[in-house]
Chain length 336, copies 2
């Protein structure tokens, strides 16, 4: 094991191994009807969460998920040194409005759908470095506010092409500190990759090269191989992006087998639920990680995890201006 | 001096004292005509920066400021472990698009106009903690893209109330590592404060309580007093916010004297330049810090600085939905 924390390249190895103290996750009704529904113990039956706008509903997802995370971690807000959060809404208001009464020092982040991995990475560094004893990282999204902001108002009933993904209504929050069972061992911070994809309805294709870039960096930096992980999970490449990623990985000589899954394909049954290429949004990987994967690790059903959340860094304006879609992916390794 | 890095409360003290290695700053023509014009050696004469949209011009501000920062710091992109950047455009595209070809591991952040201080805080922790040897923090904004996104298209010629602020066209970037003259000694991370202000044309009033909250935390955590600093500078409270802040500080028993200034009031001559309450935007405090204050520190004209950038965490949607304006302020102490 390296004696320095920084392994070189894009990866940090944590010698003190910060742990996950507890998680909170809140999802919408469609996510609760999906294949992971049983794992989502905090599912809302009302997609408005009792609010009068989709944006306020999305903020409420954050309020509830962080509250649940505090409860599960046996923490009060005063115990938490930093709240690190972000979302897809303009000016990251879902997270900042949803968490504005918490009273915890706040670091807003933006990595599109890679936000949860970015938050875990920064959070683990702040704990390992001694700047914090407890940190909460959170990320979320809401289908209806995302459709309104990025595509069309729901009432318009826009048709979606087969490669399109379905923004997850959900928020995941994880508390980081010492004393838990799941140890954070490495983080690999991604570089922005832009391969010239211009179709905002095909974000999987835009994100796949960023995913592969971070995978390559992670294995080169750590000397590990895909077989060292029980589960390698991408954030929300979806069916299209996953296929492209598999092809690119194959060319690079990485043999990903049955231990590779995609959160976007896990959370919905695309055929039954009409979600096309799968789930997406900050809340996709955050909900699957906090609601499904980390509990499975606590139950010792998964021992070594590589979580790689991917983000498409576009905006509706850049798309209208004919720009291509830069993307990024951040990886976090955890083990029991 | 504390032997632990974390002082308690919201403040971290850096024992290893990461330093500023060099800065880059690019501003627009109006900023170059202002009181600090002589300090802005990289002023653009064309507010479009040769691009075909305001958004692309804003991205170009980032490209140029970071390039200048690398040059001044005698670094190549391969020397930099993390790029930490953010802006006001939807989905933070000015920074991510402007820096997408840099090839540096990228952490996107969002703190509205507090972004530069957030980036410096995280950057200093990553260097002090041994996760990076070099980090660049950058923040920027563009008047025209901000007007288009937050208010009205320029062609509309909207009238601005006296309390309104003028978004700075500019970007500042600072490289952090060891070996420079300006030492980063403390960072105080702000909490979100929302005192119920709903007027999006009066962001100074919304941000003043966040500023005061972070000021109180900083002095309580460090045991310092305002007299310990040669210069205490707020990000962009502007004339209205500064007056409110002064009143609130007075009530709290803090005697801020001539050593307290506001970047928003420094960058423009409001009367001559018709900028109403002063400058604002991520680029305001970033440009004034990187173009004016840090060079003055290098020249030993300022020895001890408390830089407190303030951010209003609103969006046009939250304003239309009648929401109040949460705000945040982050502080960074530096000394020669």
């Amino acid at each position: 094991m390296s004696q320095t924390k920084r392994l070189g390249g894009q990866t940090v190895e944590f010698i003190t191994r910060p742990t996950i103290l507890g998680c909170g996750v809140v999802v919408g009704p469609k996510e609760a009807e999906g294949p992971l529904g049983e794992d989502f113990t905090c599912a809302e039956t009302d997609p408005m969460l009792g609010q009068d706008s989709w944006e306020k509903a999305e903020s409420m997802l954050f309020t509830k998920a962080v509250s649940e995370c505090l409860k599960k971690s046996a923490l009060s807000p005063g115990d938490v040194n930093y709240m690190i959060a972000g979302d897809l809404l303009n000016q990251c208001t879902a997270s900042s409005f949803g968490l504005r009464t918490l009273g915890v020092p706040y670091l807003g982040i933006y990595g599109a759908c890679s936000t949860m991995a970015e938050g875990l990475s920064i959070g683990a560094m702040l704990v390992d470095g001694g700047y914090a004893s407890k940190v909460i990282a959170a990320a979320g999204s809401h289908f209806c506010s995302a459709e309104k902001q990025y595509r069309f108002p729901l009432e318009y009933g826009g048709q979606r092409p087969p490669g399109a993904q379905w923004t997850v209504t959900g928020c995941g929050a994880a508390a980081i500190g010492y004393g838990g069972n799941i140890k954070i061992t490495h983080t690999t911070t991604g570089r922005i990759e832009d391969m010239g994809i211009r179709d905002a309805n095909n974000m999987g294709a835009a994100m796949a090269p960023a995913f592969v870039s971070t995978v390559k960096a992670h294995f080169a930096d750590t000397g590990r191989t895909p077989n060292d992980y029980d589960l390698i999970v991408s954030g929300d490449l979806g069916a299209v992006g996953r296929e492209i990623a598999a092809e690119l990985l194959d060319k690079e000589g990485f043999a990903f087998g049955d231990n590779y899954k995609d959160c976007g394909m896990m959370i919905f049954d695309s055929k039954k639920q009409d979600t096309h290429a799968g789930g997406s949004g900050c809340g996709c990987s955050a909900s699957v990680l906090c609601g499904h994967i980390l509990p499975k690790m606590e139950q010792k059903k998964i021992s070594r995890l590589l979580f790689i959340a991917t983000g498409a860094l576009l905006s509706p304006t850049t798309t209208l201006q004919g720009e291509s879609i830069p993307a990024i992916a951040h990886a976090v390794s955890m083990e029991i």
